[in-house]
Structures are given as C-alpha cells and as structure tokens.
Amino acid sequence: MPRKNIIELNGVNKSYQNFKALNNLNLKIPKGKIFGLLGPNGAGKTTLIRILNQILIPDSGEVLFNGEKLNQKNIINIGYLPEERGLYRKMKIGNQAMYLAQLKGLSKKEAKDRLDYWFDKFEISNWWNKKIEDLSKGMAQKIQFIVTILHDPDLLILDEPFSGLDPVNSKLIKKEIQELKKKKTTIILSTHDMNSVEEICDEAAIIHNSNKILQGKVSDLKDQFQTNQWKISYKGSNMAFTNAIWGGWKLISHETINDINTAIIELNEKLSMNDFLKGIIEKISIIEVKKNTPSMQDVFLKATTNE
C-alpha cells in the first residue's frame, strides 16, 4: 500500500545559539495535497522549510521523505521557491535556468527540452538571452517559478509565491499549482495570504512560537473555530430590532448603509435562529440571514493571539 504522507517529522528540534526555532515538532504532510504552512513571522516556518531542503540539519528528531530518512538523493524530488527571490542579475536567463536545472540533477538535454516547453507555455521564449536586470520583478518571478518546478519534483515548497505578482500573473501561478496537484505533486504553500489558503489549500498547519498549534483540513479548521454568529441584513427600525428579544443573544456589530442595516449577532446555546427570527420577523423586513463562518484569517488570528 502506498504511503499516505510524503513528509513526516517526528520530534524535530532546532535551536540557534540561545533561540529555539522548532520545539519537538511532529508534522505529517499528506501526499498529493496542497498544504498550507501558516504562522506569524519568526514562528519557525523558514527553519522548517530549510530543514526539508536539507539546508539545515535538525538538532534532534527525524525527517522522513516517503517513509525513508530524508537524504541528499531527495534533492531531485524537491523544488523550492524561497520567499526572498533571487537570480544572478547579470547572467543570461537561459544560461542560469540551465545552470539551476542541472544543479538539481537534470541532464543538459533534459534541462533544455523542459525549459523550451515552459518558456513556450509562459510565452517568454524571447527572454532566453535577456538578463534578469532587464526584467521587472514579476517577470523575474515567473522565471524563478519555472526553475523551481522544472525538474518535476514530488514535493514543491513555495514560500509566499504570490507576493509581488499582479492579479493576472497570480492567477496564472495558481492555475499552474492546481495543474501540478492534478499530477500528484504535493505542494507546501507557506504564506500570510489567507485568501489563497482558502482558495487552494486542502490542509493547513499553524506554527506558533516554535510549536505546531493546529493542523487539519482547511474546512475542519474553520469548523473548529465556528461560533454561533449570524449576519442579518434588514430594513426597519434599529430599536425594533434590538428590543425584539430580551435574552439569549448579543450584538457583535451593527451598521447601516443606504437604509439597509446589517447586524452581526451571536446566539447562546439555548436560543436557536428560528426562535430569534420569530421574535423579530413582524417588526422588521429581513433581506438576508447568513451564518457567519470564520475565514482562515479568523482561524489564524484566534489560534495565534487567543482572541
């Protein structure tokens, strides 16, 4: 039976001099999924990514890749787009893409064939002899993305892949990520952009203060932070709304725009939305009632700040 997880970290610790970057971290990253790696700045994400890339060695604990101890042979299986992008500014784009691809282990011919394919696909074949310094930041990012995925890695680690990209290019990269997922590539997406997490991630983990504090499917995580909050849009008197029912609920926020009032309320366990509506339905004209589901942004904030 094939293994379910591409990466397994068991009790991984890493310290720098007087600072503990990862504390007894256990993490399983499922195969073929897009996995969101979330956490505030300085939480230990970069250290974790560097350990997966074998740039750093953990002080203790084990890292398994497809069930085997992570080793130098796995370099070809992993693609890495660091947050701080960089290419040689004065080297021709084609030459440096060839160089980086060969460093990953591709032969010269493989590298050339695959680069031709991707340059054609992204319609940038005429950039081959240009230098990075001649390109805009977004254009350079496209090159960096190609270089990262060129060797068809099983695991792709993308650190803030959309930062600095315009919406068109951002969409293009998201589409490519989805395509890669279809080809069974596992993608670790480290980002602060929670909308992207909701949009494309299947699972996510939140690391905070060197510890993993949450992990699960994105939908499960949101459920976990579900509250009994509702959004009610209506027309009518505010007073009538607030006087309708005396107990069992509290008003979180209220605003009026163009005669339409929007209230966010939280019900306690004893009061159902049906009962609440019964109390107000005759005094106001309801436009919309919607359960307020938490966004990943809410999940992140609650998990990391105990709000």
Partner: protein, 443 residues
C-alpha cells in the same frame, strides 16, 4: 558533470567572458611593460642634457677632465676673471646652463666641491660629476708627485664582485636573481588580492541576490564555496598565463628593438647599477641588454620559478580565498567587510615590505620563518627560491615543510571558513561581531 564541476564551470565561464577580464588580460601586461618602457624612456631623456658651468678656483682641473659622455654633460669653463659669485649670477640668468660646478681653491684638503642647480640633477649625473672631479684631482696629484700616468692607469682598477657559493658554483649573484623572485612574489600578491577579493564579492553577490538559498537547496554549502573558490582561482591562473605570454612577447620585441640603439650611458654608472641592482630600468645599452638577456636566459631556472609560482599561488590563494569567502558570507554588503579585511591584508603587505630584508639576508632566521609561515610564505619563499635551491640557497626540506604547512593551513582555513560560510550565508540583518563568528565556528 558533478555539481561542484557545474559550479566551477559557471564561475569560470561567466568571468572569462566578461569584458573586464578580456580588457585586463590585454591591458595588464601592456601597462606593466609600458610602465617599464616609459621609465626607461624617461631615464634616457633625463640623463641626456646637462649644460654645466665650471668654476675652478683651485686651477688644477683644466685639461685633466675626462668627460667621456660629452653628449649628456656639456662642460663650459667660466672665464678666468669670473668669481664664484659672478658665476652664480650667470647660472641664474643664462637659461641654457643647468648646473654650476664649483671647485674651491682648497679642494685637495676640503675634498668638497659644490654643485649648484636650478632643478636637481639625477643621482647618476651627480655620480658622474663626482667621478670626473675625482679623476681630475687624481691626475693633478700624480702630476705633482711625478708619478707616471701610465703606471697610475695600470694601478687603478675597477673590479666586479662575483658572489659565488662554495658548495654550488652555479649559485652566482643570488641577490640579483632574487629580484626575479621579487617580481614573482609581487605577481602572487596582486593575483591573491585580485582573485581572493573576487571570491568575497561573488559570495556577497549571491547572498544579497538571495540566490544562495536556491543553490544550497541543491548542493551542499561547502561545495558551493569550494566551487566558487576553485572556479575563480582558475580564472586567475588563466589570466596569469595570458599575462606571462604577452609580457614575454612584448619584452622580447622591446629588447630586440632597443638592442640596436647606441650606448649613451657612462659605463661606470651602468656597471654600478648592474652590480647593486638598484636601477634595473637603465637597460639602454648594448652591454646592459646583453647582460640582462644572458642573466635572464641562463641564470634563472624558469621551470622552477613557474612550478613554485603555481604551488605557492594555489596554496596562498586557497587560504586567502577561503577566508575571504567566509568574510563575504558573514557580511550583508561590501562596505561591512573593512573590519574583517584588515587582519588578512596585513600579512600580505608585511611580506611585501619584508622582501628587501630577505634579499639582503637570505640565510637569516627572519627569512626562514617568513618563508615557512603560511600567511607570508607564498611571497617570501618565491624570493628565496629565485636565489637558488639546495646547498647555499634554500634547502629542499625548507620548501617541502613550507608547502606542507601551506596546504595544512589551507585545509584548516577551509574547515573554519566552511563553518562560518554555512551559517553566515543564511543570516541577514545585523553585521556580526568577531564573537558571533566565533560562536558559529564552535556550533
């Protein structure tokens, strides 16, 4: 190709294709040869024309002056009735005169003549004037002592001192050979500096570009560092070979073209310069050029020089290159390197300044230790090797020990640098202190 091979190839090919490399390959030797040729030309030009007004209050020199270099030193006797003071006025007013040479009446006792000038005459000119006055006074003295001039001439001798090693007669004039070593040491100094600094700049470039993280996710950081050091070292070697080829070609052409020119220098002066080696650029006489050609062709063991240049350049460059790589990895920008560069530049500059002392005392313990200590040996040992290997010169065991120490230190420096590099390359922000770096090495 192995990954380290790919890195070496990239470092090498991107650098040798750069315009600056091609320009330096042509311009470097042209500048060196051009500078030497220019100095020779200036020297020739300078030594050409002195119009000298002579006042002889002693009345002993007339007819006894043997000026065998009339083209350069034109002597004019001031009229008998002109006093020293009046002659000074003439020198001041008459633009055609450069020097007033005054022989006081008591010259035979005071042994001091006066040379008044408008712009200071060269040391060669001063020597020439002293020698013609000396000779004239000697002739005056043999006259009054009734000594036969022929006998005087046969007694008066000028000898060259061939300094020969008793153990090895081939070891002749070793101090003169040392100057060839000096040139090689200087080249090592230039090349170590030029290319070790390039290693540092390359590391800083990769760090500030942030490409380093992409690369070290594919190769070990140590391999990246070594690939860079070796690649750039090969660029240095290529440039050295180009320089030597161009310099040899240019020098041969210049030597051939100047060998037809007339000798216009006083042979005494040349002789003195050749012996002391104080002014090798005065190479503008047939005799001198022949001497130099003979010396360079037959007395210098070029194969030894090139083999040891290769060894000491490689060893020295690897030590300094690896340490510079460590510095590059520790800082965030080039301006931060100053504080770390000073301890590295001092031994190199110190070696350079110690070379004259080593040439003077090749068997001294200073010479021995400086040619064994790996941070100074690449320069100092080149000078000692140029003076001859074996009995009387530098002993073979000294060279072997020095090379052993050089490469052991290289391994040690690379190990330390690798540790600094591994940590430094991933750290941004604050400039590290020596204490931080010590902790990186320890960790």
């Amino acid at each position: 190709m192995s990954k380290i091979g790919l890195i070496i190839k990239r470092e090498y090919s991107t650098r040798v294709k750069k315009k600056s490399f091609i320009i330096m390959s042509i311009l470097g030797p042209l500048l060196i040869v051009g500078f030497l040729a220019f100095t020779v030309y200036l020297n020739k030009k300078d030594s050409n024309s002195y119009k000298i007004l002579m006042v002889d209050d002693a009345h002993i020199l007339n007819g006894k002056i043997r000026n065998n270099s009339k083209e350069k030193y034109e002597l004019f006797w001031a009229p008998e009735d002109k006093s020293y003071e009046e002659a000074q006025e003439i020198l001041k007013k008459d633009k055609s005169f450069d020097i007033l040479l005054y022989i006081p009446s008591n010259i035979t006792y005071s042994k001091t003549a006066k040379c008044l000038y408008k712009s200071i005459p060269s040391t060669a000119a001063q020597k020439h004037l002293t020698s013609i006055i000396n000779e004239a006074i000697e002739l005056y003295k043999i006259e009054i002592n009734e000594i036969d001039e022929e006998a005087y001439r046969s007694i008066k001798t000028k000898i060259n001192l061939d300094v020969i090693d008793i153990g090895n007669a081939e070891n002749k004039n070793i101090q003169r050979k040392a100057y060839v070593g000096y040139v090689f040491a200087f080249l090592i100094y230039i090349f170590i500096f030029m290319y070790a600094v390039q290693v540092m700049k390359g590391v800083i470039e990769e760090k500030t570009n942030r490409i380093v993280e992409v690369i070290i996710s594919s190769v070990k950081s140590f391999h990246l560092m070594m690939g860079k050091i070796i690649g750039i070292g090969l660029v240095g070697f290529t440039q050295f070979i180009i320089w030597i080829t161009v310099i040899t070609f240019l020098s041969i052409s210049i030597l051939l073209s100047t060998s037809t020119e007339k000798n216009s220098l006083n042979s005494d002066v040349i002789q003195e310069n050749v012996i002391t080696g104080t002014n090798p650029v005065l190479a503008n006489s047939n005799e001198k050029i022949d001497q130099i050609s003979q010396f360079l062709l037959y007395e210098i063991d070029w194969s030894n020089m090139f083999i040891f240049f290769a060894i000491y350049f490689i060893g020295g460059y690897l030590i300094y290159g690896s340490l510079m790589a460590a510095i590059g990895s520790a800082v965030n920008e080039e301006t931060d390197t100053q504080q770390f560069m000073i301890p590295l530049t001092i031994p190199l500059i110190f070696s350079l300044t110690m070379i004259p002392h080593v040439i003077d005392n090749p068997s001294s313990s200073t010479a021995f230790w400086l040619s064994e200590i790996p941070f100074t040996s690449p320069l100092i040992m080149m000078v000692r090797i140029a003076m001859g290997i074996g009995e009387g010169g530098v002993e073979l065991w000294e060279i072997i020990l020095s090379i052993f120490l050089l490469f052991t230190t290289f391994v040690f420096c690379t190990w330390i640098s690798g540790k600094i590099y591994k940590t430094g390359i991933l750290l941004y922000g604050k400039k590290p202190s020596y204490r931080d770096i010590y902790k990186w090495i320890k960790s």
